[in-house]
Chain length 883, copies 2
Amino acid sequence: MPDHKYVYFFGKDKTEGNATMRNLLGGKGSHLAEMANLGIPVPPGFTITTEVCTEYFENQQQYPEKLDEQIAQQLAKLEDETGLKFGDNSNPLLLSVRSGARVSMPGMMDTVLNLGLNDKTVAGLAEEVDERFAYDCYRRFINMFSDVVLDIEHKEFENILDAKKKELGVENDTELDGGALKDVSAKYMAMVEEKTGQDFPQDPMTQLWMSINAVFDSWNTPRAIKYRKINGIPGDWGTAVNVQFMVYGNMGENSGTGVAFTRNPSTGERKFYGEYLMNAQGEDVVAGIRTPHPIETLNKEMPEMYAQLDDIKERLEHHFKEMEDIEFTIQQGKLYMLQTRTGKRTAAAAVRIAIDMFNEGLITRNEALLKVDPEQLDQLLHPMIDPNEKVDAIAKGLPASPGAGVGKVVFTAEHAEEMTEAGEKVVLVRNETSPEDIGGMHVAQGILTARGGMTSHAAVVARGMGKCCVAGCGAILIDEDAGLFTVNGHTVKEGDFITLNGTTGEVIIGQAKLITPDISGDLNTILDWADDVRTLGVRTNADTPEDARAARDFGAEGIGLCRTEHMFFGEERIPIVQDMILAETEEDRKAALVKLLPMQRSDFKGIFEAMKGYPVTIRLLDPPLHEFLPKHDELMEQYAKLKAAGDTNKIHEIKDLIKRVNSLHEFNPMLGHRGCRLGITYPEIYEMQVRAIFEAACELVKDGYEIVPEVMIPLVGHINEFKVTRDSADAVAKQVMEEQGVELDYMIGTMIELPRAAITADEIAAEAEFFSFGTNDLTQTTFGLSRDDAGKFLPYYVEIGILENDPFVAIDQDGVGQLIKMGVDKGRSSRPDLKIGICGEHGGEPSSIIFCHNIGLDYVSCSPFRIPVARLAAAHAVLKKGE
Amino acid sequence: MPDHKYVYFFGKDKTEGNATMRNLLGGKGSHLAEMANLGIPVPPGFTITTEVCTEYFENQQQYPEKLDEQIAQQLAKLEDETGLKFGDNSNPLLLSVRSGARVSMPGMMDTVLNLGLNDKTVAGLAEEVDERFAYDCYRRFINMFSDVVLDIEHKEFENILDAKKKELGVENDTELDGGALKDVSAKYMAMVEEKTGQDFPQDPMTQLWMSINAVFDSWNTPRAIKYRKINGIPGDWGTAVNVQFMVYGNMGENSGTGVAFTRNPSTGERKFYGEYLMNAQGEDVVAGIRTPHPIETLNKEMPEMYAQLDDIKERLEHHFKEMEDIEFTIQQGKLYMLQTRTGKRTAAAAVRIAIDMFNEGLITRNEALLKVDPEQLDQLLHPMIDPNEKVDAIAKGLPASPGAGVGKVVFTAEHAEEMTEAGEKVVLVRNETSPEDIGGMHVAQGILTARGGMTSHAAVVARGMGKCCVAGCGAILIDEDAGLFTVNGHTVKEGDFITLNGTTGEVIIGQAKLITPDISGDLNTILDWADDVRTLGVRTNADTPEDARAARDFGAEGIGLCRTEHMFFGEERIPIVQDMILAETEEDRKAALVKLLPMQRSDFKGIFEAMKGYPVTIRLLDPPLHEFLPKHDELMEQYAKLKAAGDTNKIHEIKDLIKRVNSLHEFNPMLGHRGCRLGITYPEIYEMQVRAIFEAACELVKDGYEIVPEVMIPLVGHINEFKVTRDSADAVAKQVMEEQGVELDYMIGTMIELPRAAITADEIAAEAEFFSFGTNDLTQTTFGLSRDDAGKFLPYYVEIGILENDPFVAIDQDGVGQLIKMGVDKGRSSRPDLKIGICGEHGGEPSSIIFCHNIGLDYVSCSPFRIPVARLAAAHAVLKKGE
């Protein structure tokens, strides 16, 4: 039996690995091998596998027995291919050592270059090339090696270098000649030996082993462990180590180095895109001391090199069927590829590249669909801060609703409306928003709140409006009386401009430049393809005819959640709603409801009209009644004012109101008197709503519309709650249909948003005709976590890796997801054709959508602006099934 | 094939039913048959089965085909046995018709007596007995029949009778002679015929059928349906109808009637207990116009009858092995038994009867145990209102903590303490209590709150203290400033006496007489027997050494829940706790914690000492921090006062405090920053607590104690939360043990109180060494129901039958129970020897305890005063297993 293989060679013709071996050889190693296989010139070398890393940590940092033997063999091969000797005093083989895990991972040891140099070999190199080059390499090697292997701080080296430049009166490193660099190298060496109390390793083999150790050890530094925890990367994946022949772009005017993308990563245009510098090393391109040239210029400067590079670019794209991000070095007229990997791109570019590659015959439609990240599409639907703009954030909150907004700071909704009428653009800044702020939120360019989470009122409403929002930005301290807020030492006054980035959560002083990407044609193509593939329906959450129309334009196939309470907040309605709540008798309450009826009816007519031919699920009143009343503190203030003014009449009135508000106070409103609990204790409210729905539907049916209303009863926890409210709704529906002489098909179903509902879904489905998972509330109750209060610990949980994701963003599949699955399975066990959807915020989040598809839901419902995301994610769900 | 049998005879020797046929013949019918089988004289008759009732409603109120035939046959048998003819004009057979379901059920038609009388037969009866007797029977029959069959209001008859008495100038019915009663009968008849517009049925057979119809129809009246819904009685059980030969206790001085218990139902003493009246009907015994004699007197008055009755009593007890509640009638020197059923009894009587019957060899120990209702035991442990006392409640709240209390009304905890020091007994009346009220609650005789549910602060603390509490009594309106509360038109001032009945929830004006039952010897015997049988452990929830000792006295086998937060509320501690919370830096917080450490350590020492040799589960800090700070409104008041006084120094302080209180405000504190979420964000708090636990344990171990601390981490929803807090606790434990040079066995486990914890119990059990189900919070989250806010609809839910029980009282087995079962099964799947208990309020409720036993829990934990209940219920669980 041959020995287990721990080291894989790559080079001109003895390459042992390939791109499929990513898990064993890491991303960098497997791609270097793949390029070598394709005949693309890479500096030869070998990869020590990730298995070695795993064994190393399993065996108290001992390497596998045969490792040194295998490394020695591969090193000999490398000497063979390069014709150089490692440690040779006249023309030494020099190496780079780099880590390379399956996925790129910050916090790992990166690179040691020029390994193999010592006091003797450097002299040989000086002889072979020139003194300056040799000692420049040497001082860089001592610095890098000492930094990453011996743990000497980089600034110690800076100090020596700065002293030398001062001594010689020069400004740039490039102005130091060979002698100066030789002196610097000697001083580096002395300093390191003093710090470590040991000789600097002169033996190249020792240097190599120490570097390999350092790479492996860096896999388990606290920083790397924390990163893995946060990103869910298993510790036993390990990292590979790549040992590679050094090539130099700084060996004179026929040398150079560059980075490029095979297409434009910003627009997706099919055009080679990158930059390079002649007589330079990689770090010089990045450092920005010299300005790099665009890649096209190379065609003039070194046409042969350009032609080779262009050819390689084409081969890489054809081979990987991807837009690639490459690094290359030209050493004295010879081209080497140092790296190739999938290129990062903007959403616009992703869409265009996918379509172009399909049109070029490079990939199939399905492959094209998978090339676009659904989440990324969101960028295309909102204004964004120009990526070329450099902005400084003064604070960071939660990225509650994507896009960007610029405007003058205002602190009240009224003021927002006034200033907007006066032609100003405003950003509304509040501790938290409440339904009375809707008007101001509607006109604002963006909303910034100090409190509340990803599903706070501000966040939910803003997302519904497609407006940017930064929520729960605890660092801002609002002083409304003084008309300012302070944040991290800055003071921002009412009327000052700020910019919000709702995609990142950043708050920026001043007016950043915004852009609105426009690729509607390409986007539509991708979405049409997605529609052909997906089986999951996509509906929208919409409460107004405007939202409904916007959602239709984005491709919504119905309304999955129409929240009737939002209709109660109109300016002319809220006093009637309050009359209804404050009514002392059922009669008074009914009188107020009679006034609301025509308004609700016209709401529903508008929505049915907008969604003509598509199903509309209407949820009966859900929130606790106190949400419609003024806040206790506001009333107390009014009371104080009235008392000061001696207005005894009104005092009496407000005292009554305060009493009622107090009596409706709830300790935990989320778990209080809401949903069907209201419908059961005040049946006349639901009766009015059902009447409005059916009167609207009947009137439109007479006008030739086809309408199948879906009435949804919220917060059912026990089958009997459903039965009681369903029976009452059925009775009203029947009565209206008789009155109107119209026969309607309709469905009555329920939200599944409490654990108990999921657990008893079989009982509930025996009566309910559809389910819609309210995953916001289901997540709150399953975790016992108030989304509005979680800001104090949930971000920290995600940061330290207790939770992989915010469960209000992506469905917690192991917990909440299990309840959903139980709800689906039990529900279908008693009603096989049960229609099931989801209408929580998760309905617009790709990983959640895929989960919904996999457990057999019929549709997802999300805010209008998330519909394109949902359509594509639903297609991905089909294409990835079984993965 | 013989026809299906619908009617069963009972009588001297042709009896067809027996006691095992309760479902078919109802309770009354099956017991009449059983007595007949035993040779005990019962008036003969027959029972129409419950099946007839069910078929009647299934077939649009049509009777089974052969029913009239079978009734005719049985009637013939009855005529045979009695030698009388139904409808005979000279000496008619008269009948009673009564309903009789499986369980007794109010709202059903009860009785029609003297059926078979009409204008002709009454004349025959007058001939046979005497005129007064005959027309007294006749007018009673017309009244009863018209009331229950023809739906004529009873007061119509009252009016006629009153008019007659007025006319004759007499006061009592008994003063009316035969002629007067004949006239009354005629007037009754005329009135009924006028009201119904129909002739009164003169045909006895018609009367019989109409009465049978009326009994069956009464099964489905709204009142009966509602009662069944509330009590979980299926509608298809149906009722039986008993048709029986009429016997009369008012046929002269050798006739009489009485009711009796075979033993004293109040004390359990083995002594015939009852009363009777000569020459009277059953209703006269109840009506109270004549004073009945004690049953013993019968021995003098009619020794032969008494001897027969005493013999029957003995036979019934031996036969049913029960204390029986009997009715009898003596008709002209002949004894008839009208009914026998299990006698209701006080808790004290139940215990004594069970033990006596065992000692008499009548029943086994296990049968004796099953004769005592665990829930009833609770009566024995608290003072109660003398059952002989007649009290009028002015309001009813939730029966939050059993027992009774009498005292003067006070509205603040401070005042309660002052008045108690001054030697007064007080009842503390508050809108809601908070931890600062503990002192006042401790000295009060009882606690009354206007808000909050069965597990509100007041309720939980009161139960822990074994003190009576009426909670959530919404009808009372407290005006603290005026020093009074109003309720349903009454005004109660500070200093007025009130009485609370925590067992029923009643609030009573004045001082009711209280009694404390004392049967500790018998109770201990029963509990010792229960301990022999039960396999479920019984622990207590206790937070102080006093509670722990009290619980030990009641038989607790350890502490299942020691809530450390209660220790933070001591007078000298709360300022330090507040310092800790208000600390701006970790240093300041640690400084405050250092001060708390010795206090916590001495708490734990006291508890470990009290529970020497028994396990103690200590829960780390659970509630949100704002619970330890003053309330916002209180601070605002202080602020206003300071501002008025111009005290700028203190204003600054209080403004800071207000700011901090505001920043800690939570929308839904139940779902907020509490439990292990606190322990993770402020690890130093848990570290201090764990240090205190282990220092206390180590010190006591040095003194020779054996201690195995169980550290319980609250509110775990995700395994990673447990891991982080467990690792930190482990580290502190190890450190303390090293410092102290002591090796301790200890366990670290968790509460399972969130749905997600139950769903992922397999993952959690892989790390946690024990589970304790926190069913209060688990019920809240599973139902999405805040126990403190549920008062607005939960009582209504139970009233109209949406929920069978308050899920905070008895475990909701179909919902919450399924999650618990899942938690147990998944938990044991990854750790087979996982120790599992329950520490929610349900741990002291019998049906929940039986559930816990059946799903395999190791122990229940409840407040000290529920421990006897739990011990007995746990024994019942074993004895009833498989039922």
